[in-house]
Structure formats: structure tokens, C-alpha cells
């Protein structure tokens, strides 16, 4: 084992010490707990006020949460051994969580504003599929300690492999070709692959992440109003709005509400974009890791080992595609694609210009061809199935309304108006047909599909660990087959929809040479 003199890390001793969170966390935990319990506390306070001792209950609640925070600090400790990382926590039920170090896939460092004020971070160690909510999470290390831990956990293998520890050659990364990268930050040898430009905020409104905000706010208000027995009608502004709406004709009222919602979603989405992705920066470190940092208030830094990278996904939601944007997601083993704007920490590039997304994806793959290669379409029969499926689903609405008109005397214009969905469905189907395709480009299997969210996957051929060829009875009649490549990375399986049977076997044979040979008949 070599000693990485640069950052002063010695390989951990045989019997490592149990380490504690920073005592500064004593100031953060209670506040955090109080904030988390705020809705409950508010409710307790409001509900208690009517019975006369709300203040007392509120105080009691605060004391309990503060006490829990202190207890958490006092009972949490961790250590990094030669083979294992261990976290010990719990007061009544003492638990020791051990994770083999070679299972560590990602290290996430986040810091919300209060953390940042005190120079603290929260570190989350990802081990892939068996991730539980609590996982290995240490809330409240000093920033320096957090960084040290990250390097310790992820770069051990690389540090052993690298003979010269002080390689500051600048732009040479272990992964291979780095095109168009800007050399920066001299201290650890790294190459910046992308950094956010203010112009990208323009894509914010088109992410529609504001819809989620509306949902959350509405849910919170509803709960508060419900549990604390507050009548929203009592609030002046709300009453004025509903009064105004009831005076104008229905059409205009609907228009006004729609406009208000639209503006709110756009603003909330933009704010959400800025808060989540401000200062985004993706870099490749010459220890064989990809490093992402971002965040305006809460900062987040994610590190992925490149040896676990199995490809890249380029995704273009319809609205974003309309304005020429795209985002980029990593396909890595042990890293499931999550939900939400951050995709569970697999996001390589937030919504940005398409050309930029393609450049970043190409840099990460080390090969630009999978992103630009011409795809083989799946032909007429696949197209027919796209149209059939879209129209079948779309026909349900007018048919249902017609049935209600016939049986239950609903207005006769409703099914006619509902016929509008048919051309919309046809347009979506046409777009899906245009998207559908596959190719094999160098070391990657490339698949593209989808309309509402169009995705292009470039999956490393050596990352494919099995095939699944599936045919429904209708597909058998149409002579097409869904070819699914299974993998341990990302979404776990990537499908080629409705490939003509004659095309399907050559694709599999080319992607994984030799695997099919014993099972082939030629003729």
C-alpha cells in the first residue's frame, strides 16, 4: 500500500478508532429536528391553544425534539477499518452497521444552509441495491473530515494502483479520451467536463418540476387546514380571489385559474432549477471517479467510480425537447435510477442545451459515436403496433362518454369533444415511431425510444449480462419480438421494442459475440 502524501492519508490502522460526529452538530441536530417536526408542533400549538395550554405543549414538544437531537449525537460513532466501514448508533437498541469497503459504490456529501454556516456536511455512502433509507449516513462531520472520508472510501483502490501519488499532469484522466475539457482546480488532478452556465436557467420552466412543488404546498396547506380546523375561507386574500372568480363568466374564470397555475408552475420550476443545480460542476478525477457538485442553498457532491460506469442515458422530456434541451444520466452498477429531479444521484447533467448534453455524454463514455450514430428503425410492423396501442388507449375516453350518453343520458357533445384525443394520440404514436431505433456502435448498444420522454441509452456491451426475448401472442403474429438486454446497472434492463424477428438475432449476436453460437441455426 502506498501512502497518499498529497492529502495526508495513511491507510487506516489495523484497529481503527471509533470516531464521532463534530460536536458542532449539537447546534444543528436540535434545530433540524424542530424544523422537521414543525408541522406537528404547529398543529399541537394551534390545537392546544383552544384548550388553553398550547404554549406548554409546544414547549414540551421542543424539549423532546432537542433531547432526541443531543442523544443522537452522543450515541453515533463510526470507524473505517481495512475491510469494513462501521457505524454504531442507537441508545435503547444499539446497532452496528457494517459495510464491506469494496461494496461502496457512491459517496454523497450534502450540506444544507445551517450545515454550511457551521462548516459541516452530511455524508451518505451508497452500496447499491440493498440501500435502505438510513443506509450508511453520517450527519454532521466537518467539511474537511467529510472530504477525507470520501477519498478514503472511494479512492483506496486507485491509490494502490497509482504508483506516483503526485501526478498533477493536468488533463490526463484514467478513463481515456477527454475531449474539450477545461483544465481547472490544480490541487487534485481533475478535468472539468461541464459546469453550469447562467443561461441554462432558461430550461428551468420546461422541467415542470414546479408541479411537484404545487402538490407539496397544496398537501401541506390541506393537512394544516384539516387537522388544525382552519377554514381557508377565512383568509382575506383567498376570499377575495374566490369572490372575484364567482363574478366573471365560467370560461374566463377557468382561463384565469389556468394562467395563474401556469405562471406559478413556471416560476416554481425555475426557482427549483436554480436551487437544485446552481453551481453545477461535473469533473473527472484522475483517481478514476466522476465528481459532481451542485446546489444553491443545500450543496450536494456525488462521486461515482468510473469502473462501475456501464453507459449513459440521454433523456429529453417533450417540453424540454421542444426548446432544444436535454439531460444526461449515468448508468452505473449498483446505482438505480431514482426519482425526482436528481435521479437518485445519477444525474450527470441537469437540463441543458442538447449539444452540451451530447458533448458531456460523449466525454463520459470516451466515445462520441453512440450519441450521434444513425439508428436502425424497427419497421412497419413496429410502427403499426405503436399506432394501434395509442389509439386503443385513446379511444377509451370517447367510447366511455358515448356509452354514458347512451345509457345515462349524459350530454351528447361530450364524446364528440373527447374525439380530440385521437389525433393527439396519433401524433404521439408518430413521434414514438420516429424515436424507436437501435444500433451497435463500437463497445455500446444504443437504444432510443419514447415520445413524452424520449430516451437514448448507450449501454456498454460488456455490461450486458443476459438477454430476454419476449413475444406476446400478438407480437408472434406480427413477427416482431421485444429484445431486452439485462444488466446490473441503472434501470437493470433496457428494451428494444418490437424488433422484426429477422433483425433481432443479429443484434444479440453482435452485441455479445459468441453467446448465441451454440443455439443458432442458419438458413
Amino acid at each position: 500500500m502506498t501512502v497518499d502524501a498529497d492529502s495526508g492519508i495513511a491507510p487506516t490502522a489495523v484497529a481503527p478508532q471509533w470516531r464521532r460526529l463534530s460536536p458542532r452538530m449539537l447546534a444543528v441536530h436540535p434545530v433540524q429536528e424542530t424544523l422537521r417536526a414543525l408541522p406537528a408542533l404547529l398543529i399541537a400549538f394551534v390545537a392546544g391553544r383552544s384548550s388553553g395550554n398550547g404554549g406548554l405543549w409546544g414547549l414540551f414538544g421542543v424539549v423532546v425534539t432537542v433531547g432526541l437531537g443531543v442523544l443522537r449525537w452522543a450515541t453515533t460513532s463510526y470507524r473505517v477499518g481495512v475491510d469494513q466501514v462501521q457505524v454504531r448508533r442507537g441508545f435503547v437498541r444499539r446497532r452496528v452497521l457494517s459495510i464491506p469497503r469494496d461494496r461502496v459504490r457512491t459517496v454523497d456529501i450534502t450540506a444544507h444552509p445551517l450545515h454550511r454556516l457551521l462548516g459541516l456536511v452530511r455524508i451518505t455512502v451508497g452500496t447499491g441495491q440493498s440501500d435502505r433509507k438510513e443506509g450508511l449516513r453520517l450527519d454532521g462531520l466537518t467539511a474537511a473530515e467529510g472530504d477525507r472520508l470520501r477519498v478514503e472510501l472511494l479512492h483506496r483502490g486507485a491509490a494502490v494502483a497509482t504508483v506516483e501519488p503526485e501526478a498533477t499532469t493536468g488533463s490526463v484522466a484514467t478513463g481515456g479520451v477527454v475531449a474539450g475539457g477545461v483544465a481547472a482546480a490544480p490541487a487534485p488532478a481533475e478535468t472539468v467536463l461541464a459546469s453550469m452556465r447562467p443561461g441554462w436557467v432558461w430550461y428551468g420552466p420546461f422541467t415542470l418540476s414546479g408541479l411537484v412543488t404545487i402538490g407539496v404546498v397544496a398537501g401541506f396547506v390541506y393537512r394544516l387546514a384539516n387537522e388544525a380546523h382552519v377554514n381557508p375561507g377565512r383568509f382575506g386574500p383567498l376570499r377575495a380571489i374566490s369572490h372575484q372568480l364567482s363574478r366573471v363568466p365560467l370560461g374566463i374564470a377557468i382561463g384565469e385559474v389556468a394562467l395563474a397555475v401556469l405562471v406559478f408552475v413556471a416560476v416554481a420550476s425555475t426557482v427549483g432549477y436554480v436551487v437544485a443545480f446552481w453551481g453545477f460542476r461535473l469533473s473527472r478525477q484522475d483517481t478514476g471517479t466522476l465528481h459532481m457538485t451542485r446546489g444553491l442553498l443545500t450543496t450536494r457532491a456525488t462521486t461515482i467510480e468510473e469502473r462501475r460506469l456501464r453507459g449513459v442515458e440521454l433523456s429529453e422530456p417533450l417540453l424540454l425537447r421542444a426548446v432544444g434541451g436535454a439531460r444526461c444520466i449515468a448508468i452505473a452498477t449498483g446505482l438505480r435510477v431514482g426519482r425526482g429531479a436528481e435521479r437518485g444521484g445519477t444525474l450527470l447533467l441537469p437540463p441543458a442545451p442538447r449539444a452540451e448534453a451530447i458533448r458531456v455524454a460523449a466525454d463520459v463514455l470516451g466515445d462520441p459515436h453512440p450519441l450521434t450514430v444513425e439508428l436502425t428503425g424497427h419497421g412497419l410492423r413496429a410502427a403499426r403496433r405503436r399506432y394501434l396501442r395509442a389509439l386503443e388507449v385513446a379511444a377509451v375516453l370517447p367510447a366511455g362518454l358515448a356509452l354514458l350518453w347512451w345509457l345515462a343520458g349524459w350530454p351528447g357533445w361530450a364524446p364528440l369533444v373527447a374525439l380530440v384525443v385521437l389525433p393527439v394520440a396519433a401524433a404521439l404514436a408518430a413521434d414514438r415511431v420516429r424515436s424507436l431505433g437501435h444500433a451497435i456502435s463500437g463497445g455500446h448498444l444504443v437504444v432510443r425510444q419514447g415520445s413524452v420522454v424520449r430516451r437514448r441509452y448507450a449501454l456498454a456491451r460488456e455490461g450486458i449480462i443476459g438477454w430476454h426475448l419476449r413475444q406476446s401472442i400478438f407480437q408472434r403474429r406480427a413477427g416482431v419480438v421485444t429484445v431486452i438486454a439485462t444488466t446490473a446497472a441503472g434501470r437493470q434492463h433496457y428494451s428494444l421494442l418490437d424488433v422484426p424477428v429477422d433483425l433481432s438475432v443479429p443484434v444479440v449476436a453482435e452485441a455479445t459475440p459468441g453467446l448465441l453460437d451454440p443455439f443458432l441455426i442458419v438458413g
Partner: protein, 195 residues
């Protein structure tokens, strides 16, 4: 084609290449002369699996039938529609119970070589799965209560992908045991974490 190094040979009923007319992937209209095609796996599962599938389907149908009988008994004043539905259910169930197991038996096949495991399953919807032996993580066997009745065993081969277990239903015990032994031996020859 002769990579039969570690193939289990016909422990099951008919080991030969019975190129069943079933499921040869799509409408076979050989336009081009040199089209690559995938042949079905070599081995069939145990013939007793037909009975297993029959019993399993029949048991499954008992639930809706029982519900309908109860419904009928609780509303004897107007039995006609209930009886009609009951008859329809019985007919559908009968067709399913008779046709499905035969169809399945023609489809379900499996094969292993030194390099890969290849399975075919389903009836209305059919699927073929192929996994390289080098990527196998675990090989499990399981016997449900009905399967034990017919002396059958399931073998499940998993890879590191959550989307990719290969299941071979309805093998007889000896074949299953030999398959597991063989796979564990060949898998051990491949180091690495198979991702």
C-alpha cells in the same frame, strides 16, 4: 455447435433435438436465405409438469367458482343470471385447465452449455432468456407443495441484474440436482463479481 462440454444430456424425457413446431419466433417466412435464427433449447421439462400445471390452474379457478356459488346461494330468489355466469366461468376454466398445460409443455424448454444457460417459457406470451454462465450469481432450487406432490423442482438462476432471473419450472428432482451441480461447478470457474 459442438460446445456440449458440460451439457446435461437428456435426463429429461426426450433429449434429442425435437424441433417442436412451437414458438420458433414469429411468422416463419424465410425471405432471405441466410437469416440467423435461434433454435429452441434442447431439453423438455418433465412430463409430470403437465399435471402440475393442470392442478395449479384448477386450484386457481376454485376461488372465483366458490365465490359465485356463495353468491348464488345467497340470492336464490333470482338464480338465472348467477347460474349463467357460473356456467360461463366453468367453461372458461375448463378450456384453460385443458389447453394451457399442454401448450406450456410444448413451449417450456431449457438447455445449458459450458458458456450459457438458455430457457424458453410461457404459453400465450412466450419468452426466451439467455445468460452467460460467467455472469451467474446464484442457482436456487425450490419445491412448492403441489410440485412436491408430482416430484418436481424449480431451478432459478439469477444474475446481478434485478431483471434477469432464469426460471426452469417442472424438472424432476434428479435432473434439477444434476443441473444445479453442473452450474455451480462451471460458475466457480469464472472469477469476478459478474456485473
Amino acid at each position: 455447435m459442438t460446445s456440449d462440454g458440460g451439457t446435461i444430456d437428456g435426463g429429461t424425457t426426450d433429449g434429442g433435438t425435437t424441433d417442436g413446431g412451437t414458438a420458433d419466433g414469429g411468422t416463419a417466412d424465410g425471405e432471405a436465405a441466410s437469416v440467423m435464427r435461434l433454435r429452441p433449447p434442447r431439453h423438455r421439462v418433465s412430463r409430470r409438469a403437465i399435471w402440475y400445471w393442470t392442478v395449479r390452474a384448477a386450484v386457481g379457478w376454485l376461488v372465483p367458482l366458490a365465490a359465485q356459488v356463495v353468491w348464488l346461494l345467497s340470492d336464490l330468489s333470482n338464480p338465472a343470471p348467477h347460474v349463467l355466469w357460473l356456467v360461463v366461468t366453468v367453461l372458461v376454466a375448463a378450456v384453460h385447465v385443458v389447453v394451457m398445460p399442454q401448450w406450456r409443455f410444448r413451449v417450456h424448454r431449457w438447455e445449458t452449455t459450458a458458456e450459457a444457460v438458455y430457457t424458453q417459457a410461457g404459453w400465450l406470451n412466450q419468452s426466451r432468456r439467455i445468460a452467460p454462465v460467467s455472469r451467474i450469481q446464484t442457482v436456487d432450487t425450490a419445491r412448492g407443495p403441489i410440485e412436491q406432490l408430482f416430484g418436481l423442482t424449480n431451478v432459478t438462476v439469477t444474475t446481478a441484474s434485478a431483471a434477469g432471473p432464469l426460471k426452469i419450472d417442472g424438472l424432476d428432482h434428479e435432473t434439477a440436482q444434476r443441473l444445479v451441480d453442473e452450474l455451480t461447478t462451471t460458475t466457480q470457474a469464472h472469477p469476478g463479481d459478474a456485473t
